[in-house]
């Protein structure tokens, strides 16, 4: 397993996690669990800790981005400082640890003065915050990870990714993967600043907004994995909008390319068909680096997890055991 892959995680005071630990993650990790058990929050915590603990405050910016993705921030220039203070206050006892990295915010009061200590190193007083963090309401692409949300799909994100695909000279491969998904699609391009697909049936380009969400989601997933290298990819509700008959193709692409590009993948699902497809394809490819992470709550309502290894997940699926949470 690559050094940069997340192998374990400990999450304290972050969203629904009071005190959570899990270990034994693989290169590709599918996460299952009932509603509101923290599947997305688990990936968000991973996306924070995968970034470097440096003095550019990358982890904290990921936290801001998460709040923004969930529409919990009012993003504007005037609100920048207020947003930042709100996040410090909201997560003042957060602690996320993984491998040898740690992200923490500690809160201290010294008389009337309030201080936040970031990553046990950087003391940040209120007055020093202005201008320190800058972010906008676009889903960002950085070198460490890409997070594809469950439903909100921004054209800007597709456009940015397509630029990277072209820069990497991966356009033919990208178009081939799209044709494999839907024979009616001949190619993808950005025309008049809009993502479009050329459809064989009408022999012309059509804005992808006129297609279903499934196509947009598929384009995003394929694009994101093609442009990732030595990074991490988070796919929330991966099966959303995608027909079950395309799931095997999708998993084959994810498993194959993530191996070639050295990318760690975390994805969430509610779908039994999606889990079965994941296991079927991994077994066919003999990809033993897959894991399944099942989340549930114990008798005290605390979130816990079971991490299934390759043989264990195959056994559970082949025995028709329900592993979608408890």
């Amino acid at each position: 397993m690559s050094e940069h892959f997340i192998k374990n995680i400990e999450i304290k005071n972050f969203k629904c996690f009071d005190n959570f630990k899990a270990e034994g993650f693989g290169r590709v990790n599918l996460i299952g669990g009932k509603n509101n058990v923290g599947k997305t929050a688990f990936m968000e915590a991973c996306s924070i800790i995968i970034r470097p603990n440096d003095n550019n405050f990358a982890n904290f910016i990921s936290l801001l981005q998460i709040e923004n993705n969930r529409r919990l921030l009012n993003v504007s220039k005037e609100n920048n400082l207020k947003n930042i203070l709100d996040i410090f206050a909201k997560y003042k006892n957060i602690s996320i640890q993984s491998n040898d990295k740690i992200f923490t915010i500690e809160y201290k009061e010294k008389g009337l003065k309030q201080e936040y200590i970031l990553n046990r190193k950087f003391t940040v007083a209120n007055e020093a915050l202005e201008g320190k963090f800058k972010f906008d309401n676009k889903i960002n692409i950085n070198n460490d990870f890409i997070f594809i949300p469950s439903s909100y799909i921004d054209d800007n994100l597709i456009t940015s990714m397509y630029d990277k695909i072209k820069a990497n000279r991966n356009k033919p491969k990208f178009n081939k993967l799209l044709r494999d998904f839907d024979k009616n699609i001949d190619e993808f391009d950005i025309l008049y600043d809009k993502p479009q697909v050329f459809l064989n049936s009408i022999k012309s380009f059509q804005n992808i907004s006129e297609s279903g969400d499934g196509l947009k989601k598929y384009i995003l997933i394929i694009a994101s994995i093609l442009i990732s290298k030595d990074a991490c990819l988070f796919l929330d509700e991966i099966e959303n909008g995608i027909h079950y008959s395309n799931l095997d193709k999708l998993w084959e692409i994810i498993l194959t390319i993530s191996k070639d590009q050295n990318v760690q993948v975390f994805a969430t699902t509610h779908s039994k068909e999606c889990i079965e497809s994941y296991v079927r394809v991994a077994k066919r490819l003999e990809d033993e680096e897959i894991r399944f992470i099942e989340l549930g709550r114990d008798d005290d309502n605390k979130i816990t997890s079971i991490v299934y290894e390759y043989n264990e997940i195959i056994n559970q699926v082949e025995q028709h055991q329900d592993i979608r949470g408890w």
Binding site: E294, I306, Y308, H320, W326
Partner: protein
């Protein structure tokens, strides 16, 4: 969640049928549409009694799984001096439960001889089937009475077992207890 641990596919099929029968009279099982997810097969008695095969279940115990019932055959002492026969099987399963040290409710049910013997004993026309067994010297071919149960299932596909027979009561009670008070 609860889990029934059995030997193989025949046991799983039988337990599924029995649970569906119990469901018709027990309101607490009404919400369960498919019992497959509650029954796990280990691939034979020797694997069922070997504690090294329980690493995954041990991960699930306490958090996901709250009660377990082992169901298996005692088989014949002549074939296995250590685990064959009722007394040896009881000793083996109790030793396994002790080794596993799961801090949840664990129970077991052992079929006297095996599932096929158990089923033949409950058949309405048992004597006819035993006569058939003797006449064709079936025990020389298979001492487990599987041939007899296969003949029965072929002859009466729509009414395979009489679950109202008293011999089923103990197992039915254990299954009812297993599902009682759990999701």
């Amino acid at each position: 969640m609860v889990k029934i641990i059995c030997e193989g596919s025949d046991d799983k099929t039988f337990l599924r049928l029995l649970l569906n029968d119990i469901k018709q009279h027990d309101v607490s099982l009404q919400d369960i549409s498919n019992f497959d997810g509650y029954i796990e097969k280990m691939g034979g008695k020797s694997k069922l009694l070997d504690s090294s095969n329980y690493s995954l279940l041990t991960k699930q115990i306490g958090t996901k799984i709250k009660k377990v019932l082992f169901v298996f055959d005692c088989d014949f002492e002549d074939d296995d001096k250590v685990c064959g026969g009722l007394e040896n099987s009881k000793e083996a399963i109790e030793s396994l439960i002790q080794d596993l040290n799961w801090e949840i409710e664990v129970d077991y049910y052992i079929f006297n001889k095996n599932l096929d013997y158990f089923i033949v004993d409950t058949l309405d026309k048992k004597d006819n089937f035993l006569g058939c067994e003797e006449c064709f010297e079936l025990k020389k071919l298979n001492k487990n009475r599987k041939i007899l149960t296969c003949i029965y299932k072929s002859l009466y596909p729509k009414a395979p077992f009489d679950f109202s027979h008293a011999n089923f009561n103990e197992l039915k009670q254990k299954l009812t207890n297993l599902f009682e008070g759990t999701e």
